[in-house]
């Protein structure tokens, strides 16, 4: 249902089961100043209800259907939640193979976010003509850059296909492990691609570092505010995307929560619902709502870890910290951290594949229903992903709760939109340049609405400027 708007009317636009629709409302005060800005997600999926009554062993593949961009992340978090219900752990090779696929997923998704979606803004400038500020413009003007992005994404996707049989929605990750072991020739094929992938990420990183000063203004006002950060950390303080425990730190690095086991996630994060968005807002329970605002994703992950744990990524992390400080706060740095993490993925993939145990034929544990509740936590490209299921004694799902990265970044995205609006909206008129910047600040978070592949380089945004009396003064929508 879509209701057309006229002045003094709000648009109600609950388009169901479609991906990536959002709306922004900017509210002005008496003096024409921006008093509030809200990022509304107007789509409703309802997956948590859909899976009630389903056998829990079906959950990983059912949950993977949430998203075509990061199905592996849901597969992994869901399978881990079912592992917990089965009270079992995958054999070492099974866990490593899951980890491998998760890294491939992060690699390909980061390539999509940085190269395909964000780099046109960075290379052409935020005020550039939208007619060329997209992937095809990139291919024409910066062909090597475009090739690198496409090749990296292809490498990650191909790896997922080699492991799981298909690029999107592989049913290979299952409760207890994975369905089939890794063959030596597949390992060798993936390994052969690592040097090329590293070279391509390095090229992008080198370019980004030398170009960073161009975006000083954007860095200052795009989601640049103190918040907490949350992410998984391994026992030795290095980056962790599959296992580990949760760590939350304050804006200056103060530990708020540490060594939180996935099962205790509820002690760490709370969930709030606002009537103006279908996207839940999560907050750090200890700080309350909305003071418990925090961010997840590459920036948060790099802020919470002591070091990455692979040589090249550690060098880059040290350099980043020397440039930006130990805990950079601007959401603009999601781009930088995303690239470092892509480099880490390549190195970690190589490390895992060099382990001789990776070819073990024992990749799946079998067990029945041994607990009535289970939580699975992993790092998805956009941030920490939590799946929480409650089942009956027969293994049928009674309740499911998903805490997804974009929800965890929701409060920060809203604040980022407000910050950008306060910087650029000076009258009762919206301009194209302002729209571009609001899009781009949201894009830093790479939100999965699932937005990222819509109309390459352009999200289906609808922005309203609302006066003090609630009158709609102006509105803009991307075509």
């Amino acid at each position: 249902m879509t209701t057309k708007t006229t002045p003094n009317q709000l648009i109600i636009d609950p388009v169901t089961r479609i991906e990536g629709h959002s709306k922004i409302t900017i509210t002005l005060g008496e003096q024409g100043e921006v008093t509030d800005a809200r990022f509304h997600v107007t789509q409703f999926r309802g997956f948590e209800r859909m899976c009630e009554g389903r056998p829990v062993h079906e959950m990983p593949s059912l949950m993977a259907r949430i998203c075509g961009i990061c199905p592996v992340s849901h597969l992994v978090a869901s399978a881990k939640a079912v592992d917990a219900i089965m009270a079992t752990a995958p054999p070492p090779a099974g866990a490593r193979l899951r980890r491998l696929m998760n890294l491939a997923q992060i690699l390909q998704s980061h390539a999509l976010s940085f190269f395909h979606l964000s780099s046109p803004d960075l290379l052409f400038g935020f005020d550039a003509d939208p007619a060329k500020r997209h992937l095809y413009g990139l291919v024409q003007e910066f062909p090597q850059f475009a090739k690198d992005g496409i090749a990296l994404r292809r490498y990650g996707q191909h790896m997922i296909e080699l492991l799981g049989g298909k690029r999107i929605h592989p049913a290979w990750v299952v409760p207890g492990g994975v369905t089939s072991p890794l063959r030596a020739e597949v390992r060798d094929e993936i390994l052969a691609g690592v040097p090329d992938a590293i070279e391509r990420v390095r090229r992008a990183l080198d370019w980004y570092k030398q170009a960073m000063s161009r975006w000083n203004e954007e860095t200052e006002v795009w989601g640049n505010f103190p918040t907490a950060f949350l992410g998984l950390v391994s026992e030795d303080g290095t980056a962790e995307h599959y296992d580990g425990t949760l760590r939350a730190i304050g804006p200056a690095g103060t530990i708020i929560h540490d060594e939180i086991a996935p099962t205790d996630f509820a002690n760490c994060v709370g969930e709030a619902v606002e009537p103006w968005s279908y996207l839940k807002s999560t907050y750090l329970a200890k700080l309350g709502y909305p003071d418990g605002i925090y961010r997840v994703g590459p920036l948060a992950r790099l802020n919470v870890v002591d070091r990455m744990g692979t040589p090249r990524a550690d060098e880059e992390l040290a350099e980043m910290r020397s440039r930006l400080g130990r805990w950079p706060s601007s959401s603009f740095h999601f781009h930088y951290t995303r690239l470092i993490e892509t480099l880490y993925c390549c190195e970690r993939i190589e490390q895992i594949l060099r382990d001789p145990g990776i070819l073990s034929g024992r990749v799946r544990s079998q067990a029945g229903i041994n607990r009535n509740e289970g939580v699975g936590v992993s790092e998805a490209p956009r941030g920490t992903l939590m799946h929480h299921y409650v089942v009956d004694d027969d293994g049928l799902v009674q309740r499911a709760n998903l805490i997804i990265a974009t929800g965890q970044n929701n409060l920060a995205m809203n604040r980022g939109v407000k910050q950008v609006a306060q910087q650029y909206v000076k009258s009762d008129k919206l301009t194209e340049g302002m729209l571009n910047r609001v899009e781009a600040v949201i894009r830093c978070y790479d939100p999965c609405l699932s937005c990222s592949t819509h109309a390459v380089g352009q999200m289906p945004f609808h922005i309203q400027l609302v006066g003090p009396s609630g009158t709609v003064l102006d509105e803009l929508a991307t075509p």
Binding site: G53, E58, S61, R65, H169, A171
Partner: protein, 235 residues
Amino acid sequence: MNVCTLKIDGVEVVGTAGETILDVARSNNIEIPTLCHLDGLSDVASCRLCVVEVAPSGKLLPACAVAVEEGMEITANSDRLHRYRQQIIEMVFLERNHVCSVCVANNHCELQDKAAEFNLTHFDLCPVNPRLEVDATHERFAIDHNRCILCLRCVRVCSEVEGAFTWGVSGRGLDTRVVTDAGAPWGESDTCTSCGKCVQVCPTGALFEKGRSVAQEKPRRPFLPYLTDKAGVPA
């Protein structure tokens, strides 16, 4: 032996008394699609996919349940029959909630195969979308009524081969369900021997072994030597 001659799709064939049109067609390499039929079990003609036209009336009769007669002229494949069969498959899909992508029997499902064979690319009718439950009370097996096509193979194999008579049918029309022990939860059944034959003969993912994930339920009928084709070879 009582032999009769007849024509199927213009081809002169020979059958013996007691053989069905389906038996004779298949022994002459004439394909007639089926869903509820399974060699080794009796036929109940519940799916109607095997309907054929019998001259001169052109009446539609289920090939699996009609015995051959001398001089019959049968059309087993025509545009009209193809259209009817396509509609039957469509209605089977729409009556329950079949979602292949997240089904345990994905890629091993006879209904899915038939949909592909008949090029069922979309639905013209509205789905019923009933709210149906999964009975997972049995220790090893579960039934998801969302995926049941009421072929009744489970009912037949349970009574005709295992002799347990656990499975039966309750309700009528859209409310028809296969049930265990006259409607008791499967896990409380006194008659079920947990042999698993019903699971192995299920053409879809309705009956499955617990713990199976998507696409992991593969029928293992060679383990059921009782089910044989006419030459005595395990089905």
